[in-house]
Symmetry: C2
């Protein structure tokens, strides 16, 4: 028997569940950011793999001794970096089921429930978000769980290339005249998708923002498209972002879609972080214009309590991805596929195999209900509003841009001018991170250094956001005093 | 508190571990293949998502009522289809840890242990397999865990395109003259990678096999390359397969690599299924020629006890993938990346985010030791040899090709000629699958229908393979009798 004895699995499984509970119970007491040096983790583990079975307890001991100190704790309540990753415990329960079943959902026929539970959930969430019936399977579209918004952007670009070429792309590849439109704030995954798809960076058009905003200017988009058409190039895809990574900017989807469609370009909405908030009626404006777009992506693994990886991608035309991606070798042929009655999700993604990821999303939706999910989102938005209010009211700080949902971008004000403010902001961020009680990351807006406070970790509550504010105030005061003393 | 209470998580976590243990304990009594009709699973679940939290026990009840009958049981001991997927219980323990930690390993700095444990393991497994020091980080190469061999093939193709263009590919994309060489037996993921990369199917060269074999002919490869060069085309990548999906054929890597390198093409070895067997000295011949290739891929999630997804990809040049794939926006900049001392695995893959997949692989290697893994592999190869012997000795069957490791390809012999044998083989396969005690899949070799018996499920033991043989004998006898009666 090459596998664990079932009783041994029960014993160890319970022990591991308890380990996870203990880890989460104590996580607030750990430094958020790992302070180990490059190579430390490797130096702590034997280079040679064991010849013989080792007690599982030894691995757990190594996890405590090496992995935990070598880990940046994304589930820590003081995690305000990047966008948080919501690995809730209800999601983990669903993932244990998925691992226990151990099925491969590449084809409908290789595990019908793996496909159909995903269809039910994505249809249900499309409705709950207000995406409209045309993005559900019943309405001729449909959704799928991708590993990430990066992969979603790639497959959407491929579908757009295929459609734009009338299907020739599958046989003859890209032509070198295709263009993709983004802004300087668009996630780097779009630039990566353009590269992966063989278009090269020259195909990427960085469209200017509207004056005074960080959102794509529809008239600049129209001008860029006109210029490309005049030069014999082909507009293939426009990516509108709802909630950019840097500052949470929201591109004007209705106007962008109108311009893009005049010229036959696919419109993709990347709402990786912000999109889930549309579950709340007061944030449904995030979907304005979605009735005009071809695809929409948002990630439960960022802010909807679901463990990475779970990125939801909906398309208006359920045939678009299979048209672009399907290749059927003999060993994958089967009656269900031939019938045309089923969805084979392998044709919606680059990898062939796929896990039963819908179970963790199902566990989350089931355990919290839509009202629970809304409360989670609203709680963070309220904390961000409170935090932004303090920034606004304190002359020692300034908002770099208006807050967007649960993302607040700020700078330290020193009175010494832009360069001094930027240096102080950087120093404050580094000192806060070094304390281990919070983790912040930065961006650069119009050449200025900006501290991002992304509220959204599952465990983050009012006390943690308030403690962060106190720490920022104290640290900035120190930094200002040091600067004054040095002058 | 939007997440589960920790005591509730403990209680439910234990319950789920027990559910998994119970599922695995009873799995042999379930029909391997789900017999539900398209739409049945959807019809059994409410279309509307719940507004309020629901008891987890209700979800488990739905899993028992809908998901289990809607699932094809890949962990069933009678699963002989495709290649099995090894979701061992030790792997699941590691994955529970990963889910509990909930970290994001996109950059070294976002969780050093997530990167370095993977490096230690991949270096250790490179050594254990006999890949050679040049594929380890210490030797200037290195390994990473990809989600699948499909994604591995794609990133390798991108690195080859980048290298072949001297880096111009990143800016100007593909030229349309690039060529990729495979055989008719190569996995369809290569054709998909060629399509995704924007080359189109016209870039794919299907190289003939050597006479009397299903393996790529080095002289045919040389001829194809010469012809392409003469026509102004550019050989970019040759994929050699060690253990094809259809029949387990093994391309002659040393000769292929020699031909390919004369013309600067990247050589990738796709050993997705078979490669792990090189852990056993008697199967190390599978790596013959690997010292000449650029990259090598094998999947622990197929036959090395590790739950999907875990595909190991090693490259000889650790800079090759980052050179092709790296894009650094401001919000991902950090001191560790700037130092050049660390590996940022996001640059080895298409998605930005990544789970801590190394923990499940670590749990497997740790729990079984290399000797345990070898015993697992050897056990299945021995069962396949025994099974193939029965096929060989029975005039009612014939081996379609010589067995390859744990894969046996056979046909039913009726005495009525090829068409009758093909029809009988198909009928026998369908009837065996319909009983629910075993799952077989097929392929077509030289136009002939072939039953594949892929031995490799974690739970498969001698009794299950012997029972399959008895069932094949009995079913084939019935089918022959029916055919005789109908004449």
């Amino acid at each position: 028997m090459p596998d664990l004895d079932l009783e041994e699995f029960r014993r160890l499984g319970h022990q591991l569940v308890d380990w996870v509970a203990g880890y989460r119970a104590g996580i607030a007491g750990l430094p958020v950011r790992s302070e180990v040096a490059p190579g430390w983790v490797r130096s702590q583990l034997p280079a040679e793999l064991p010849e013989h079975p080792q007690p599982f307890e030894d691995l757990l001991a190594d996890v405590d001794r090496v992995v935990v100190p070598g880990t940046t704790h994304w589930q820590h309540p003081g995690f305000f970096g990047y966008f948080p990753a919501n690995a809730s415990l209800s999601s983990l329960l669903g993932d244990i089921l998925s691992g226990g079943l151990g099925v491969q959902g590449m084809l409908w026929s290789t595990s019908p429930a793996c496909t159909e539970v995903e269809q039910v959930l994505l249809d249900g969430l499309a409705t709950a978000l207000g995406l409209g019936r045309e993005f559900t399977f019943a309405g001729g579209g449909g959704g799928s769980i991708q590993d990430s918004a990066s992969s979603a952007a790639l497959v959407v670009l491929l579908a757009a290339l295929n459609r734009s070429s009338g299907g020739d792309w599958r046989e003859t590849g890209v032509e070198g005249t295709e263009c993709v439109y983004v802004t300087a704030e668009t996630h780097s995954s779009l630039a990566k998708a353009v590269r992966v798809a063989g278009l090269g960076a020259r195909a990427l058009r960085i469209v200017d923002p509207s004056p005074g905003s960080r959102a794509m200017s529809p008239s600049a988009l129209a001008a860029a498209i006109t210029e490309d058409l005049a030069a014999g190039r082909r507009p293939v895809l426009v990516c509108a972002t709802v909630g950019t990574t840097g500052t949470g900017a929201i591109d004007p989807v209705p106007e962008i879609a109108t311009v893009a469609h005049e010229h036959g370009a696919w419109v993709h909405v990347d709402a990786a972080w912000a999109g889930v908030a549309a579950l709340c009626p007061e944030f449904r404006y995030l979907l304005d214009g979605v009735e005009l777009v071809d695809s929409f992506c948002t990630n439960p693994h960022k802010w909807l309590l679901t463990g990475f990886d779970a990125s939801m991608l909906w398309v208006r035309d359920a045939a678009a991805l299979p048209d672009a991606l399907s290749i059927i070798p003999e060993y994958l042929r089967n009656a269900a596929t031939d019938s045309g009655e089923v969805v084979d999700y392998r044709d919606w993604q680059v990898p062939l195999g796929r896990r039963f990821r819908a179970l963790k999303l199902w566990a989350v939706v089931h355990s919290h209900g839509l009202e629970g999910l809304r409360a989670h989102l609203r709680g963070h938005v309220a904390l961000a509003a409170e935090f932004a209010g303090r920034v606004r009211d304190d002359p020692g700080f300034t908002l770099a841009v208006e807050p967007s949902l649960a993302l607040v971008c700020l700078r330290v004000v020193t009175g010494g001018g832009d360069a001094a403010d930027d240096a102080a902001s950087r120093t404050v961020l580094e000192r806060v991170n070094a304390t281990g009680s919070a983790l912040l990351t930065h961006t650069v807006v119009d050449g200025r250094y900006v501290i991002r406070v992304a509220i959204g970790s599952v465990a983050t509550e009012a006390q943690h956001v308030r403690a962060l504010w106190e720490q920022l105030v104290t640290t900035a005061a120190q930094v200002r005093a040091e600067a004054a003393a040095a002058r």
